[in-house]
């Protein structure tokens, strides 16, 4: 959802970053958001991901690399496994609602870079359509991105074209599935019933009296 900064005061330093980016990348910049005096988000298209990195590093002095990760916007279909096993499973909603700087696909790669001269941070986002989850690697741009991309590859299944050694970073070799996807079940919570389910059994008195009791106890 496009949230225009309602505060009249426009954060000119961050606005300048966005203008420079749109001027360099043309219409590849598809969305942006500023929280005044705090942070700035810019969303670019997937094809321009590598050029955006080079522009950001060389022209906008964001020389320090912070991190590269991904967000899966699908709401958690299993809930918190904190529902009593007896009552019916809540029907999971599957509408994708993305965060700042818009975007409509389920998977979004986010990277953050920092400039030590202008003391600004910049979040770069890119949408990845579900059918082809691939993105150009940032290895020539920032050398530190190597492990981040390997982690995103094994956790979300996003392949980075051009990455020389896209092996699993944390998970053993034959691990199937991508754990950080929202539809990957957290098995620890399936195995054990939730101790928080209230099972205070009602009074053993006669039925009508019991109904009266329970209403009275309920309010």
């Amino acid at each position: 959802m496009e949230e225009t900064p309602e505060a009249p005061e426009v954060d000119e330093a961050r606005q300048a970053v966005i203008d420079k980016l749109t001027e360099e990348l043309g219409e590849a910049v598809v969305g942006s958001h500023i929280r005044p005096g705090d942070d700035v988000w810019v969303r670019v298209t997937a094809e321009s991901w590598r050029t955006a990195g080079l522009v950001v590093r060389d022209h906008l002095s964001f020389r320090a690399f912070e991190y590269l990760s991904a967000i899966d916007w699908l709401p958690n279909p299993y809930g918190k496994n904190e529902d009593a096993p007896t009552d019916p499973r809540p029907e999971p909603n599957t509408d994708i609602v993305t965060g700042y700087a818009g975007g409509d696909t389920r998977f979004q790669v986010i990277a953050r870079v920092q400039s030590y001269t202008s003391k600004l941070g910049l979040n770069l986002k890119v949408d990845l359509p579900d059918d082809d989850l691939s993105l150009a690697t940032w290895l020539p741009v920032y050398a530190g991105v190597n492990w981040h991309e390997r982690e995103v590859h094994e956790m979300f299944g996003i392949t980075f074209t051009g990455h020389p050694y896209l092996q699993n970073l944390y998970l053993p070799g034959e691990f199937e599935g991508h754990p950080l996807r929202k539809d990957f079940p957290l098995l620890a919570r399936f195995v054990k019933p939730w101790p928080g389910i209230v099972d205070v059994e009602p009074m053993p008195a006669s039925d009508d009296e019991a109904e009266a009791e329970t209403e009275e106890a309920a309010e």
């Binding site: 904190e82 054990k192 939730w194 101790p195 928080g196 209230v198 099972d199 205070v200 059994e201 009602p202 009074m203 009791e213 009275e216 106890a217």
Partner: protein
């Protein structure tokens, strides 16, 4: 700009030996100045370590050693079991009649505890349950010597948690300038 480390006059190696030698004499004859050498050597006082089974170090009053349960404050609201991240509190209760508060008043139905177990093998001592309990039934006590040979015995039941109640220290007074008021432990 960074200052270069000062060139050690005496070669660093000897000054290093001086440090360890000084530590050794400090342990054997603790204290200040030359007169400490007059006293008899007492390494037990000089050493920083505590000989555990013989001497014991008292943990600070706020130390989170074990959770104590005051049973009659508990109204089986299950808030602690629900907010425990490790799912290690197991509660079962039932409803029963309780005498009316005022004479001639109506009988009240109160939920009473059947089972209140905390599995200390799973517990990570985060303290959310003590904090979230609205009826002041759970308290921290700095006791720590309850290790068991069998891991199953770490499941403390209601009586065991009740026993910890008397080891719960009173809350400390606060530092000057704090506007929080000191809570009281219901004995």
């Amino acid at each position: 700009m960074p200052k270069k480390p000062p060139k050690p006059k005496l070669p660093g190696l000897l000054k290093g030996m001086g440090v360890t030698f000084n530590e050794m004499t400090q342990t054997i004859w603790p204290g200040e100045g030359a007169k400490r050498f007059m006293q008899p050597p007492s390494p037990a006082k000089g050493a920083a370590t505590v000989q555990y089974p013989h001497e014991k170090e008292t943990p600070p009053t706020r130390a989170r050693g074990v959770i104590a349960l005051k049973e009659d404050n508990c109204t089986v609201c299950m808030l602690c079991a629900r907010s425990c991240p490790d799912w290690c509190i197991y509660i079962e209760g039932h409803k029963e009649k309780a005498p009316p508060r005022r004479p001639g008043g109506k009988e009240r139905t109160v939920s009473a505890l059947d089972r209140f177990d905390i599995d200390y093998a799973l517990c990570m001592y985060c303290g959310i349950c003590v904090e979230v309990c609205p009826f002041e039934a759970l308290f921290w006590s700095p006791e720590f010597e309850y290790s068991e040979p069998r891991i199953a015995d770490l499941l403390h039941d209601k009586e065991r948690l009740g026993e910890w109640m008397e080891t719960v220290p009173d809350f400390e007074a606060y530092e000057a300038g704090s506007s929080a008021k000191v809570k009281k432990v219901p004995r």
